[in-house]
Amino acid sequence: METATINNNFKSEEYFINMGPQHPATHGVLRLLLTIDGEIIKKVEPDLGYIHRSIEKMCERDSYQQIVHLTDRMDYLSSHINNEAVCLAVENALEIEVPERVKVIRTIIDELTRISSHTLWWGVMGMDVGALTSYFYGFRDRELINDIFEETCGARLTMNYNIPGGLMQDIHPNFIKRVKEFIAHFKTKLPEYDKLLTGNIIFQKRTKGVGVLSKEDAIAYGASGPVARGSGYSCDVRKYHPYSALDKVTFNEALHTEGDSYARYLVRIQEMWESISIIEQLIDNIPEGDFKVATKAVIKLPKGEYYQKVETARGELGVYIISTGGKNPHRMKFRSPGLSNLSLLNHITVGGKIGDLVATMATIDIVVPDIDR
């Protein structure tokens, strides 16, 4: 046996850590392979597919009405917006003009969904940096939105309220009253969020200058949504390609240029305020009319390609339909915001500590089914 050479004493060694698929910070079944030197991260490699259900393959055998129901299993926190993306794509392909009432209701529920998603994100963000109380504050307000959804369409999370051509049914008579009540309530509660977390010195120390993403990198990595807007890249689909009733409202795109976790945090807080303002502009002006236009029982899209982008709570969701004229799509692709946003994780966390990785991942706001599809 050879004598072991002792030449690497006092030399630090890199080692692997397996974060996930069951780990509190990965928010679902995401697995991260970390290469670590002490506390410092050398490499992050996401290992995906733990919740891959091949939704794109399932779409190829389903009718367009059925496909809508698959989409809210992707990014379940913005399920209504996902539904809407498919419905808009189908409606554009069929050249159906939905009633104004539908457009306004869709936009109101979109923004409620966005608030609901952001409140959940805010709670979990606090939990990831160690402030457990924020979780319950976020859920307190989110519960009210879910109650409104439940009353409107019977489901709290995977709503399926949209169908190609309009809505499944009309809004509940209480809808307007309850949304107004919620807005009044939430306007007093949102400043509490700032008091608990935003102004906290430890929170700021944990997030400022952490996970910095430059504007160029945000664009190159295909980032979208609050992640890109935190880096100063103006990319709000609601501004550039307005859909539904978004052309009737005025709102500001939340933009910050620092590109760190704190900037992404502020973008989301500001987006909640903007969503409130959008809802307030629309809630008193829901036009009377039908809640859907009749479509054929079997929808056949004309031969061609259709692309529809919408702004979910996480960023730009693209629905790409290639139709050959049949009752199923030939190919259906969902451009999920999560996959692109996750691809930059390695780029912005290398060199940071394990704690930084968690804080950065929280502000990227990953929903794993959205990535895996």
């Binding site: 995906l48 597919g49 891959h52 091949s54 794109e56 393959k57 055998r61 554009n92 990198d217 664009i219 190159a220 990595y221 295909g222 980032a223 979208s224 890249y233 990319c235 550039y240 004309p302 031969k303 061609g304 390609e305 259709y306 692309y307 982008k309 730009e316 693209g318 790409y320 290639i322 190919r331 692709k333 451009r335 996959l339 692109s340 996750l342 691809s343 930059l344 780029h347 895996d372």
Partner: protein, 158 residues
């Protein structure tokens, strides 16, 4: 830039547009579609990104498509400066060993998206540093999103 201007500009980049199979179409799509011989894909993409008049710096969607006989990839590009959109398509009839140039050196976001296409369609990307399956396990047989993929256990055929 309007679609017409884009079309004219891109045509001038190639001395013989026919020899690289450069074709434009707007039929059945809301964007300008461009298809090209896979040989010249990387060259075209670099120009699209670096040229000041086009500057397509945002690759927002990368889709693998099984056209039946051919396998293809569709790139959706957007310019954050000029806000115009272009769709680039390539396809090959080689189903056994389809290879395209990787564009992940031009847009880093293509890294994951190309892995996804490799995973589900079996399309290889030349020059990709880490081309392995993204969603499915390493020992998975076949490429599920191909039209001729058969899995009698997991697939419900209607």
């Amino acid at each position: 830039m309007t679609n017409q201007e884009l079309q004219e500009l891109i045509t001038t980049w190639f001395s013989g547009p026919e020899s690289v199979h450069l074709e434009f179409t707007e039929e059945g799509s809301q964007f300008l579609n461009l298809s090209i011989d896979p040989e010249y894909l990387h060259e075209l993409m670099s120009w699209l990104k670096t040229n000041n008049k086009t500057s397509f710096d945002y690759l927002f969607c990368l889709t693998g498509v099984d056209w039946g006989k051919e396998l293809g990839v569709v790139y959706h590009l957007e310019s954050t400066k000029h806000r115009h959109i272009l769709v680039v398509k390539v396809q090959t009839s080689d189903r056994e060993n389809p290879v395209f140039d990787s564009v992940q050196d031009i847009w880093p976001t293509a890294n994951f998206h190309e892995r996804e296409v490799f995973d589900l369609f079996g399309i290889k990307f030349k020059g990709h540093p880490n081309l392995k399956r993204l969603f499915l396990s390493e020992d998975w047989e076949g490429f599920p999103l191909r039209k001729d993929y058969v899995d009698e256990v997991n697939m419900v055929v209607k």
